[in-house]
Amino acid sequence: MSALLAQVVDVDALLEVIGFSLIAGIGVTAAFSIAILGATRFADSRRDDHPLVAAGFAVLGTLASLACVAAVVFGIILMASKA
């Protein structure tokens, strides 16, 4: 049975799909969560008058947001280049 499956299934492509899906799916969710964390902590720190901490969270949130935007752009490029 496994020999038959190996014949008809492109195992390399399958492993690539699994790897890419895990990295992209978990990575984008993590990046977006960090963006929310950054934005929330930035607002809290600014309100508590901790400008340095607020600036740090602002940078963190911005970088994470940029990572999410990059992932969306990359996804659209993948769609457009589909062969």
């Binding site: 799909v17 799916g25 969710t29 977006f32 964390l37 929330t40 969306v72 457009a80 280049s81 062969a83």
Partner: protein
């Protein structure tokens, strides 16, 4: 002349299938956004319809024509394509009636396989292709999305778990607009092309176009318009199943399900591994729910969905085969068979819609929010 009549019927049927594809699969894209109130129902389906339309233009590679490598392309006739389409439409409408998400692509493949089998026998069907391109991915897609969405939501909870819930919920609702948009684009790119491929197959089989001809603009525009219109009409029963009957989800779960599903679909498309968008998103929804609490998933509903997945190929194949057998009564190349079947289908669908509308307002979006 006879061939041209069949061609017109096939093109019309292909666009009708495209409409049911959008109608049936709206839930994949919008259900979680509506369920978590990231978007209002009307806004969500309008947004999805526009992005499905745009998605159809993003890539015009029709190389991955439906059923390529699964049935012998040299044996395909316009009547086989027609019968396969009827099988797919019938299965899509049946699963919509029961509110079950199922794969439109598998329904189409099943319909064509069944019709080809009845027309030309087992030699017309490539068993290895069916196993490698349809059955194995059908098992892997939902499992992979389940795992990805499950790990994604656990990661999200770990990062934002100690924050105030208000900003977190608002943040993930905004994120759902983007993740839902990606899904709608991916759906338009993948599924509208299947209809374009079917219409091209019929045009080439009829001798209207050469084998190397580019996709005519009217084919692209009509396929894009049909799937967008179907999406806008929305299969509200399936939206309800996907959005709230499997699990009651929060916005972080909705984002994880959509993001995980989109990642799996894009990865599979890129590496040439055909997956069903419906099965992928359903798996993502279940994974996002089960990761939080296994008992949060209504496993009875999930079981019904899996049962529909298993039935999709054989049921649509059986309908496609029966339709082909019926049309052949009137002659293998006669237009009478497809005309009679089309008339039956139109009358049947109209009667079903009238019956549903008379039964109450559950067909309408405004009165049936998720």
């Amino acid at each position: 002349m006879e061939g041209d009549v069949i061609l017109v019927i096939v093109v019309g049927t292909a666009l009708a299938f495209d409409f049911t594809n959008g109608f049936h699969d709206t839930a994949n894209v919008v259900a979680t956004s509506i369920s978590t109130r990231a978007m209002s129902p009307r806004l969500a389906v309008g947004f999805a319809a526009i992005l499905n339309f745009v998605g159809a233009f993003i890539s015009l590679e029709v190389a991955a024509t439906v059923a390529k490598g699964i049935v012998d392309a040299n044996l395909i006739t316009t009547t086989i394509v027609f019968s396969g389409l009827i099988g797919a439409i019938a299965w899509n409408l049946a699963t919509w009636y029961f509110g079950l998400p199922s794969s439109s692509s598998h329904a189409l493949i099943g319909g064509v396989v069944g019709a080809a089998f009845v027309a030309e026998g087992a030699a017309a069907v490539n068993g290895d292709g069916l196993l490698g391109k349809v059955i194995v991915p059908a098992v892997i897609a939902p499992l992979l999305a389940f795992v990805v969405a499950g790990l994604a939501i656990l990661t999200a909870y770990r990062i934002v778990g100690r924050l105030r819930p208000g900003p977190v919920t608002r943040g993930f609702k905004i994120g759902q607009v983007a993740s839902g948009g990606m899904l709608a684009l991916a759906h338009g790119t993948n599924d509208a092309q299947k209809t374009m491929g079917v219409i091209m197959l019929a045009l080439i089989a009829n001798g209207t176009l050469g084998a190397d001809a580019a996709v005519p603009t009217w084919v692209v525009v009509s396929a894009a318009a049909a799937i967008a219109l179907g999406t806008y009409m929305g299969g509200w029963r399936i939206i309800k199943t996907m959005g709230s009957r499997i699990i009651k989800m929060d916005s972080a779960q909705g984002f994880s399900a959509q993001g995980g599903g989109a990642a799996v679909i894009l990865a599979a498309s890129h590496f040439g591994y055909p997956l069903s968008t419906t099965q992928t998103i359903s798996g993502g929804v279940m994974g996002a729910g089960a990761a939080k609490r296994v008992s949060a998933v209504r496993w009875g509903v999930a079981g019904n969905i899996v049962f529909a997945w298993i039935l999709t190929l054989p049921a649509s194949a059986a309908i496609g085969g029966l339709v082909y057998g019926f049309t052949r009564i009137f002659g293998a190349d006669s237009a009478v068979g497809p005309i009679v079947v089309s008339a039956f289908v139109i009358v049947g669908v109209a009667a079903a819609f009238v019956r549903r509308v008379r039964r109450g307002p559950s067909l309408t979006a405004a009165e049936d929010p998720v």
